[in-house]
């Protein structure tokens, strides 16, 4: 397997323009003859499906929810970055590029990140034109807020529902194309395999989640926009249905999987309350603009927070990182929380929580200003915890939130399987080893609105594709494999529920491959996961039939894939013998406990190639060069 990044030459600020000019175009009459399959209807999927249809391609779009509007992008709260410099505070494309490369701890591809920063400005324009109701100043201009890892105010937002509003914009554009007959939308359809013909992606196999029918879909190219795989940890801020099945099936068909161990733990989530917990809820990072994070100085101090005087509180982020304070990047904030809790200074039941306190901000700005900024988040917090954050500090703790890893793609966002493009969180993306807040929405929309519509055209224009139909042997083989797997899951007739396996996998992952990792722990996880997988296939209990809406069956298929993917995540974490961004190996830290990168040996992307059942996957590397942003030890002090 060869990893060719296909980055255009020339100075970084000219690469994308030059490439756009050099790419081949498909003539408008010919676009109508091409069918493109887009799997996913989140920000990345919906924006690309709509844009490709606007260009004239026939698009088939798929999602597992009952409507494309429900993709998990809907849950993003805080905002989206763009280098507009509307605040005149010194922002620029270069600064956004710089912040993103640095925030990612120098493990991303410079050229991609630069393009992302360039396109960020077009995204805001596009979304405004669609009617996204971004927050405004009294004069009618767009408002901004600050987010972690940046010292400028470049985040655009729509109350605490930015993802929802951006997604509805893309969804409306998508539905417009559905109405025009250019997009054939298949909701409640789950992609269960990728079909590769003569080395090129030519289609997918889906299961209709209502009837159980296994169906082939043929196209000239496939775009995967299926989101992240963080549910491998079971408890996460993801939607319950979020899964790795689409990218995992593609991996097994030959797409390299890059940096699977780069997973992000978000510092501000509502702590776990008990065994029944099914998911964790994020409290937007924007809260760190006004909230102050602290724990008691003394271990085991169980006094209610108002009774702890200021001098007995440890505002540990402000103390350790005076220049960024509560706005340090997520990985830094999460590890700091873990550290104080491990020291026995955590708060709330179980001791795994820290305070996020708005008392000072309320005193300074008044309750109504705070309410206007964060009202819906405060309400959400109160609904879940029955505590009023206007009166008592919130309790928060880190939780799995995002996956920087994903299918490897080149500059054109094409995977190692020609014709298979991967966009949004599903690719290994532009965020290196740590994503900055408000940058995922930006990336999903940049990929979908402005990158893939061009690069996919270039692929089609420069490739001669033979006609294939659903009766092609490759389709028949994939369909048979999908049907056999469904039958196998239904045929185990074991004793344990699917959820119980998923929970157990999640515990292994969180304990050994969560916020802090070490060789011993990873090796033990690599021993436990295959055993659990073996037990799953021997003892899982999936009731019902295929020919109906069968939610246990859906979950079982997803968990079966997580049980394989989890192992790859741990293997990648084991092999990356350095700490960087969200990947913290305890063996590699500075004396004051910060991540210690090893640029000599690990300034690269690790991309794993599937080598067949029972064989260890092969690790390939794509070296990373830094011409514009010179790697230094990240400092937010």
């Amino acid at each position: 397997m060869e990893l060719r990044a296909n980055v255009p030459d020339g100075p970084i600020e000219k690469k994308w323009d030059k490439h756009r000019f050099e790419m081949k175009l498909v003539n408008p009459a010919n676009k109508r003859k091409h069918t493109i399959i887009v799997v996913g209807s989140g920000l990345a999927g919906a924006s690309s499906a709509a844009s490709l249809a606007e260009l004239g391609y026939n698009v088939k779009c798929f999602c597992y929810q009952d409507s494309p509007r429900r993709a998990h992008s809907i849950a993003a709260q805080g905002g989206i970055n763009a280098a507009k410099n509307y605040q005149n505070d010194g922002d620029s494309v270069f600064r956004l590029f710089y912040d993103t490369v640095k925030g990612g701890d120098y493990r991303s591809r410079e050229a991609n990140v630069y393009r992302l920063a360039q396109l960020s400005v077009n995204i805001i324009d596009q979304c405004v034109a669609q009617g996204v109701p971004f927050a405004r100043e009294y004069g009618g201009m767009l408002a901004n807020r600050s987010f972690g890892g940046a010292q400028v105010s470049r985040t655009f937002y729509a109350r605490g529902q930015t993802g929802q509003q951006l997604l509805l914009g893309a969804y409306q554009a998508l539905e417009r194309q559905v109405g025009l007959g250019k997009v054939d939308m298949h909701s409640r359809h789950e992609m269960l395999d990728l079909v590769v013909v003569d080395g090129r992606a030519r289609g997918i196999v889906t299961r209709d989640m209502v009837t159980g029918e296994v169906e082939p879909h043929v196209g000239d190219a496939v775009v995967l926009a299926t989101g992240g795989y963080g549910n491998v940890f079971y408890l996460a801020t993801y939607a319950k249905g979020a899964n790795a099945t689409a990218i995992w099936r593609a991996y097994k068909r030959g797409a390299a999987f890059a940096n699977p161990c780069f997973t992000q733990i978000h510092p501000t989530c509502i702590p776990v309350t008990g065994e029944h917990q099914s998911k964790l809820t994020l409290m937007s990072e924007s809260l760190r603009n006004d909230g102050r994070i602290w724990v008691p100085r003394k271990k085991g101090d169980t006094r209610p927070p108002p009774q702890i005087p200021d001098e007995e509180r440890d505002y540990y982020l402000e103390r350790q990182y005076p220049s960024f304070g509560n706005l340090v990047p997520r990985d830094v904030a999460s590890r700091a929380a873990k550290r104080v809790c491990d020291e026995g200074r955590g708060v709330g039941p179980g001791g795994y929580g820290v305070y996020l306190d708005f008392a000072d901000a309320i005193r300074r700005l008044g309750e109504s200003v705070i309410g206007e900024k964060y009202g819906n988040l405060f309400e959400m917090y109160e609904r879940i915890t029955a505590e009023n954050p206007y009166r008592v500090p919130m309790r928060i703790y880190p939780a799995t939130h995002y996956t920087m890893g994903g299918l490897w793609v080149d500059y054109n966002l094409m995977s190692t399987i020609p014709g298979l493009h991967v966009i949004g969180e599903a690719n290994f993306s532009d965020h290196g080893a740590n994503r900055l807040g408000a940058s995922a929405l930006m990336q999903g929309l940049a990929d979908g609105y402005f990158v893939v519509p061009y690069t996919l055209g270039h692929y089609l224009a420069s490739t001669k594709l033979e006609p294939v139909g659903p009766d092609h042997a490759a389709f028949e083989e994939a369909e048979a494999a999908v049907a056999a797997r469904v039958e196998k899951l239904l045929g185990v007739h074991g004793t344990r529920s699917v959820d119980s396996f998923h929970r157990e996998l999640g515990k292994i992952m969180w304990e050994h491959c969560g916020m802090a990792r070490n060789e011993g722990g990873l090796k033990s996880a690599l021993g436990k996961i295959p055993d659990l997988r073996e037990e799953f296939w021997r003892d899982v209990k999936v009731l019902g039939e295929n020919e109906e809406l069968n939610q246990s069956l859906e979950k079982a298929g997803r968990v079966a894939d997580f049980l394989e993917l989890g192992e790859l995540v741990c293997l990648d974490a084991l092999e990356r013998r350095e700490s960087c961004g969200g990947h913290f190996r305890e063996e590699f830290q500075t004396p004051d406990g910060e991540a210690r990168r090893d640029d000599e040996r690990f300034s690269h992307v690790a991309a794993w190639e599937y080598a067949g059942e029972g064989r260890p996957p092969v690790r390939h590397v794509e070296p990373l060069g830094f011409e514009y942003v010179h790697p230094t030890q990240r400092s937010y002090k």
Binding site: I74, A129, R136
Partner: protein
Amino acid sequence: MNLRLHVWRQRNAADSGRFVTYPAADISPDMSFLEMLDVVNEGLIARGEDPIAFDHDCREGICGTCGMMIDGQAHGPRRATTACQLHMRTFHDGDEITIEPWRADSFPVVKDLVVDRTAFDRIVAAGGFITAPTGSAPDGNAIPVPKTSADLAMDAAACIGCGACVAACPNASAMLFTAAKVSHLGLLPQGQPERYARVRRMVSQMDAEGFGTCTNHFECEAACPKSISVRFIARLNRDYLRAVLTGGGEPARVEGGAG
């Protein structure tokens, strides 16, 4: 706490369906309503019985996937709260709880508590958008939007498309859903060019889907987990009336050019 649930079970659209009673034992007040159903389902699976099918995804009140009638109320007793965000501390030990799917002809039952809400997508496809193809946009600050309009548009845009308004309405009307989208887009300068065509098309699709008419019961606003105001319905009616009276939104006839 311990509860008794009366749950609507229906194998598929063709089945006539029935209530089945299940105990829910050892429920913690910190559980969400859906986590309580998870626990019941784990028990059913252990006994070899088909678990209760219900729709859900984000479990944080934003995706609009969950939805069920809980004791006759859409999303249950708590104001402005989706079923996934409803916590068991709202209930008491020994309570009997009746759980049903949304009941509306335009939302046929798929299985148990799961219904088909694709009619909403078709209403949006008919006109619930601003035509702004990718790449055609001017600078974001080129069109100033008064803060009051942006805020009001956002109030309307907060709709999560869950269908509670339809389920709560005695006529199964989709007016609040449609009005929220018409208002969101119609309040913004960008939405003006298509304002009247939009309202016509969306209303006509809404009718074609078989949703009932609005007779001002306002149960929709009370049931809406996002507290979308019925004032948006008045706004829709105004726009619709103007569109009909003035022929606004009808495509102008395209005359042949002179060359």
